[in-house]
Symmetry: D2
Subunit: 364 residues, 4 copies
Amino acid sequence: MKRVLVLTGGGDCPGLNAVIRAIVHRASQEKDWEVIGSIQAFDGVLKEPTEIMVLDEKAVQDIHALGGTIIGTTNKGGPFAWPIKNKDGSWGEVDRSDEMIRKLQYMGIDAVISIGGDGSQRISQALFEKGMNVIGVPKTIDNDLSSTDFTFGYQTAVQIATEAVDKLKTTAMSHNRVLVLEVMGRYAGWIALCAAIAGGADVCLIPEIPYDIDKVMEKIESRYHKDKGYALIVVAEGAKNINGELVTKKSDEVGYENLRLGGVASRLVADLKEAGCPYDMRETILGHLQRGGSPIAYDRILATQFGVKAMELVLEEDFGKMVAYRHPDIIAVPFTEAIAKYNFVEKDSALVQTGRGVGICFGD
Amino acid sequence: MKRVLVLTGGGDCPGLNAVIRAIVHRASQEKDWEVIGSIQAFDGVLKEPTEIMVLDEKAVQDIHALGGTIIGTTNKGGPFAWPIKNKDGSWGEVDRSDEMIRKLQYMGIDAVISIGGDGSQRISQALFEKGMNVIGVPKTIDNDLSSTDFTFGYQTAVQIATEAVDKLKTTAMSHNRVLVLEVMGRYAGWIALCAAIAGGADVCLIPEIPYDIDKVMEKIESRYHKDKGYALIVVAEGAKNINGELVTKKSDEVGYENLRLGGVASRLVADLKEAGCPYDMRETILGHLQRGGSPIAYDRILATQFGVKAMELVLEEDFGKMVAYRHPDIIAVPFTEAIAKYNFVEKDSALVQTGRGVGICFGD
Amino acid sequence: MKRVLVLTGGGDCPGLNAVIRAIVHRASQEKDWEVIGSIQAFDGVLKEPTEIMVLDEKAVQDIHALGGTIIGTTNKGGPFAWPIKNKDGSWGEVDRSDEMIRKLQYMGIDAVISIGGDGSQRISQALFEKGMNVIGVPKTIDNDLSSTDFTFGYQTAVQIATEAVDKLKTTAMSHNRVLVLEVMGRYAGWIALCAAIAGGADVCLIPEIPYDIDKVMEKIESRYHKDKGYALIVVAEGAKNINGELVTKKSDEVGYENLRLGGVASRLVADLKEAGCPYDMRETILGHLQRGGSPIAYDRILATQFGVKAMELVLEEDFGKMVAYRHPDIIAVPFTEAIAKYNFVEKDSALVQTGRGVGICFGD
Amino acid sequence: MKRVLVLTGGGDCPGLNAVIRAIVHRASQEKDWEVIGSIQAFDGVLKEPTEIMVLDEKAVQDIHALGGTIIGTTNKGGPFAWPIKNKDGSWGEVDRSDEMIRKLQYMGIDAVISIGGDGSQRISQALFEKGMNVIGVPKTIDNDLSSTDFTFGYQTAVQIATEAVDKLKTTAMSHNRVLVLEVMGRYAGWIALCAAIAGGADVCLIPEIPYDIDKVMEKIESRYHKDKGYALIVVAEGAKNINGELVTKKSDEVGYENLRLGGVASRLVADLKEAGCPYDMRETILGHLQRGGSPIAYDRILATQFGVKAMELVLEEDFGKMVAYRHPDIIAVPFTEAIAKYNFVEKDSALVQTGRGVGICFGD
């Protein structure tokens, strides 16, 4: 019996379970393969006692429609930078990668499929260089990876954010308010950009295009004067103004994010007040609602494609690669290439042009 | 031609448009009645120039499926307490009720249907006592009126809050976190209670049942020890602990709410940390998302029933009353009785017992 | 250890799982009670080998959000009329009730909670009269039981039907068509009535109000002439015209329904053509889509209330009763009374008056 | 003032309104352009009196979230094959293209944007060859055009079909049934294929892969024997068996489709019965529900991109082209090239391989 270990790392993302289910279904078509799930990413292997679960067809029945991941996930550092509490109570880290490889051998694992973001793929590459048979599956709800057309979870997040814009619009209209919606996107503004276009927002602020508060104010005024009587602003959590100011809170706590949720929205409202905005303003922070719930069909399909392809790469013993989507194909990209370049929104890209075409102000 | 003036006051609420549409459709069956909408509640009548719109069938086509209100609304004080800026820049108020009645006579208005909350109904009563032909339609998304079985908008808010619990659950599970969801409910905890039952939350904190943080902590621990590995808390914005502490921010700004959004959730997380909660905790504030979007069928129907009944009371000249739902009938209640008593969650009510029956901790 | 056996009978209905979960959670608060689920209603007990499953908290985790029933259901006849194949291949029935009672005793079952419709409650009563400790939980997606204000599943079906009307409306409008939507309701027209009001349909045809095709045609013409240019008709599957004609297909097959899906919609379109309808017409049959999917919050709550109450009646040994909702309480009604009277739509009820108030034509 | 005429032809499709809104918003950024909508495709121009509407920003406010098309559409033949009733009552056709061009000149139309399918694009090409300034926007909910990566409306249809599979699954499970869902796809099986993968169906039958009923039966049996106890089949309306049999009904009525809705599902159930299927089977026909309702974010964005690009081509006077999506760009393709090739599902394409990878049976 051959064994493939599957793990999910980083923040949860709609579609993770569909990847897991696809791996299991594909493996079940082979006589001699068994799928093992490691609980909470590398924790499942490194923690004592080992926390794993056998993943057969029954275990993954209908999970493709569920958000989250049935094998758990963690934002912690991984085997090369395992968090450890120092004697003085502060946190340090230690390299446990050799120990992990030994443990995997002891467990009879022939290959590992690591589903995770940026950080997870770097760990995968390092483990591959140490001799492990690793396949990567990209996971970034922010869609900020340039080696694949899209990543799963992203379209679900866009859909949820768009529905939020739809909902806020009726309140904005009824009360003649300026409503600010803060969505995910620390470095890449894709979700904000798409939700703004799909929801028909007036202003869209993203990390890639620093905003001038006066330009934003101008747009709001024109909205009110054109008798529309309200304005909708979608802002990515990593948006910054032309002075480069960003609402960041450096944190040295393990597993905590650096950006305060709602920080950008609050700041923007404060900035607008200072810039003389006379209208009633309210903010809404989507937060964790963007990650949860059932993935939309698009993401279930993409995730299923990734899962099947990952297992096929395992069967072909074509390791050291990450699966990727290049329409209409699913391909395999070497780790080195896979994580070489981020996918940021460019100022003159087709989508931004579309946004400008329907009158969205980007603050520039 | 006879004229009925319709206005919507207070915070927006799913179903307002369905009430308006029903009034117009019922009126259109009479030969000699015309419906006029006043923009932004009493503002439409009192502001110069008068802001009104004729509401015919075309104007209300398909609006029953839309959130918000097509005639706008406001949280301002109404004709008896019209906000006015004093010379020193502070805000005072002035009684403009007589002026309003004169204006309505001048406009040829025969009756007024006032759709609004608590405050609006009190104004309606006072105007009725001054001789105006007023019918009231209750609007409180919090469902805190005892003279009617239910109010429209409430079930939509419960549905939205429940879907939020569903979404947060997958993240809580995947990350082994304690997730806190703050929902509406300043004085009455109905939305929180229902969302907790419908979503399968572990803890539900409402204004009517002051919570003991140690009891909450105990429940969380039992959840983690029972191998569930996560906990979900639904908290109403007006929840307070057994010391009576509440996160309130008195505000003297016109039209601003007194409670800071997210105040309760933040405080609860802080309290739990202090009480020794060792788990990763995150908070989500539903905020304005609860008010927006298309009303669910239940609320569209109830709102339509209220609208038809209100217009029928106008036709029967049975003024000074508010429509109400007493299953399965729609009745008319005198204003004096209509707003006499609030509808709070009682500790030993059927719903709370149901909650306890499925293991929900109310912190008591 | 005491044992309560739970079973679900008749057509599936959103909320069944929420009842099951509530029973299990309530039972788990008692030291000495165990919940057993019988697979496929009474089949689980009567079939060899016995098909049952232990229902603990883990088994029912999060099932309240799922449609269907985790213990399966069947439309077959039950222990008093067990289907049996005669030698000539035809189907007969046999009374296996005594055998079932013996088997339950053998299995150490102290009480039975039977969740099911009309037929199931009659069986429950008969078993109770034979000495079994039975509690009933009503299940009828058609809401046609007079002893309870509402039954679970019904509001979800109304919501699904309303969303279908919303969807069909945009197509009707774009193509200037008459669209016919057939929904559930063989004897009671509640779902059609509510979906018509909530969706803003023009015509609503239900079993309780026989329709005159000329009245329907008149309404359609007035819709087209008023420049609306399209019409929406919601029809219950049991609707009949004033000649008493109904599309029924008697079937002697076990477990098959007597009404052909789509029969009423097709007939109506044919009738309209014959009556001279010059417009393009299309029909849509909701069918099984109405039963499936996640129950809305309203139904999850009602189902949870029923489940907790049912288990409490077991604990109080107050048998021979069915739980029921009488706002705002959950009560227990003796079986004899519980199933004595159906709940039909009355021609002059508040809801029908509301429908007429917004211009809906009932064909009378 | 320059004028661009916009029209929508063929079956309605989620996203049409988003295209229209985008054209209007983009045009409103130019000083001297006006957008005119032709009602019911070419009918609006050819019928007397001319039926057009001026499309300004107010007219298109928030329509991107609505299904259907605010300017109406028709399935009729277009100016080159205008339907005409012969003296004997039968239908013939007549070429009114010259008349239409004269009328457009008379109306002062400088350019036409024609949003429509296959047929509409051919008409656009022919009109362009006759000297008209035409830009095409592709519309095919079936996604069967090879010159663009995707068309709008398609992902919404896939999402609706997937939600239907999700709903049917709980009923199938609860009753141990075989459920058949018929979805759109007369020539191309994309919707069925994607819904089957996203919904986790067991069998998927599409026009491109003729099915062997015995293979389907085999798969169903394996599902029942593996203790899953139910099966889900998604079938495209144009699916045919290996004998090439298809449920077609030739129709000579203007504007009627050739395939009977539900024909394939009924035939499949009959075929399965004949092949010895012992299980309870039920069919559901999605029909018009797939076309209606609010487009998902994905389609709103793609449609908005198409609209902005179409208007930009008008401004650049780059006529005779159809807009298309080639990730991540929006490009312009000459009409001749645009409609040269269909986009069918290939047996060995990535998506079909994914389907096989998760165990879906295609009947081959």
